[in-house]
């Protein structure tokens, strides 16, 4: 049983590619007009017309999230519901993590892999009720993921009966906001029915925000304490404005995809299409912890077991520039005078006041402190391998001592 709300993508053409050739095809979140009215700069992202920055600018938005609170529209992300007695076993089959470990109200970061063991998408799986799960997928992959999951549901493994799984795409009707930053809890407490301070990391609850039924999850993509809030998009402007109003004292500001990218890079988090692609396996991306062979058979398990046994040939590393300059995605990484890889992400770190990047390099070059160079416009710039994440938030007790 499959209901997909929208037509699947044209074969062989991604939503992003279609959007590039036809701006009218860009999708809009329920908050699109709100962003335009706020003076946001809108850019195409994953087939969506999204705010890359508000008039405050990327740096101010970045610092607001690290120091106070920031509000992001993430309604472009795909949301899929899995319901029914075999929903758990189907998710065990198509994802790499062990979904049976999730209690009701818990969530896990996980992957969809193909049979070759490379990554189709990185996702978050929530167990919302006994037999009901929610999967959040990347905007640019949503159409393709839906097609792929439908196909998998036609002949699933692990003894799943396809009639016992209802797969429904609930976005973009159901939308998402991210409220992130050290003051996020204080802000949300003013408008949520239940105390969000009670939520453990990677846990969610059904509550209300500004009187509207919402799923409040303690998750995020910034490396900061924060929440992702899901609800009916018809109420998007109401909840957006209520959160901005509730956080006025804390200095909350709307934030765009520019800050979302600098924040996640500092936190060492992968971005699909950069660190993760269908040419990269989880061991290369240092995501060993979300591949759980002990759960039994799953898609890609055989290939992944083989990679685990032999060890990956290359691994994701953090790189810090020593010379002045700004590293960018696709710049060559050099070692011993020859190219050994390319940057998957790179840019300025507003918090650390350094230039940082991530990239895949052969295992012999992955040790902390390894001297490498980043080629910027033809010139090698001194750099070194550093541990990930670049930035780790202090706990409240550490903050108190600082």
């Amino acid at each position: 049983m499959v209901q997909v709300a929208e037509q699947p993508a044209q074969p062989g053409v991604t939503a992003a590619q279609r959007a590039e050739h036809s701006p009218v095809a860009l999708q809009k979140t329920p908050l699109h007009q709100v962003h335009v009215d706020l003076g946001a700069r809108m850019v195409p992202f994953g087939g969506w017309d999204m705010p890359v920055q508000f008039p405050t600018g990327v740096l101010a938005e970045h610092h607001a999230v690290r120091e106070r609170a920031g509000l992001f529209d993430i309604g472009h992300m795909g949301q899929l519901n899995f319901d029914g007695p075999d929903a758990l076993e189907f998710l065990q089959w198509v994802t790499t993590h062990d979904v049976s470990r999730l209690k009701v109200g818990a969530a896990q970061y996980s992957l969809l892999c193909n049979e070759g063991g490379t990554v189709i998408d990185d996702i978050i799986v929530y167990r919302l009720a006994e037999t009901r799960y929610l999967m959040i997928v990347n905007a640019s992959n949503t159409d393709a993921d839906c097609v792929w999951l439908e196909q998998q549901l036609k002949h699933p493994g692990r003894g799943v009966n396809p009639d016992n799984v209802l797969l429904r795409r609930v976005s973009p009707q159901q939308t998402l906001l991210a409220l992130q930053g050290p003051q996020a809890t204080a802000v949300l407490r003013r408008v949520a029915k239940d105390d969000p301070g009670e939520l453990a990391n990677y846990h969610a609850m059904e509550s209300t925000v500004a009187g509207i039924p919402a799923v409040v999850a303690r998750t995020g993509y910034t490396g900061e304490r924060g929440y992702e809030i899901g609800f009916d998009g018809a109420h998007a402007a109401l909840i957006w404005n209520a959160l901005l109003e509730a956080g006025r004292e804390e200095g909350i500001i709307p934030c765009g995809l520019g800050a979302r990218d600098t924040l996640r890079l500092e936190a060492g988090m992968a971005l699909y299409g950069h660190e993760l692609t269908d040419l990269v396996n989880p061991y290369e991306a240092k995501l060993d912890r979300v591949v759980r062979h002990e759960k039994g058979d799953f898609l890609g398990a055989v290939a992944l077991r083989r990679i685990q046994e032999t060890g990956p040939q290359r691994r994701l590393v953090g790189i810090e520039l020593i010379d002045r300059g700004v590293p960018r995605p696709d710049y060559p990484i050099l070692a011993d005078g020859k190219p050994v890889g390319t940057l998957t992400s790179g840019g300025p770190s507003p918090t650390l006041k350094k230039s940082i990047g991530m990239g895949l390099v052969p295992v012999p070059y992955t040790a902390e402190g390894t001297e490498v160079q980043i080629e910027i416009r033809g010139k090698p710039h001194a750099a070194r391998v550093v541990p990930l994440p670049f930035y780790k938030r202090m706990s409240p007790s550490q903050r108190g001592k600082a």
Partner: protein, 133 residues
Amino acid sequence: MSVQDQDNPTDLKYTKDHEWVRLDGDVATVGITDYAQGELGDVVFVELPEPGASVSRGTSFGVVESVKAASDLYAPVSGEVTDVNGSLQDAPDLVNTAPFEDGWMIKIRPSDKAELQKLMDASSYEDYLKTLH
């Protein structure tokens, strides 16, 4: 976003690539316009030539890096670089906050002052900006 938040000074000359030039005797000071900095967003790094380098009109003399992207800087006139704005090393945000003043980039001794005649005045530049939106 408005076309310009700061007026384009009338004593400057402008290029279609959004550089400005202030001629003072034999020295042409070069920077980027308020419109350009607004389009770039937060500037985090500026790569400039060494004094003594020669630059030629319309070719890249440096790079300005915002959080999201690197953009070439094009010489409005040919000549020898006599000075570069060292303050931008530690305060690249001067390009955003004072594009026509402290955010200047290089000084050039023009080799052919006739090239200056090819640049736009402030009102032509503003007409040009209107065609971009």
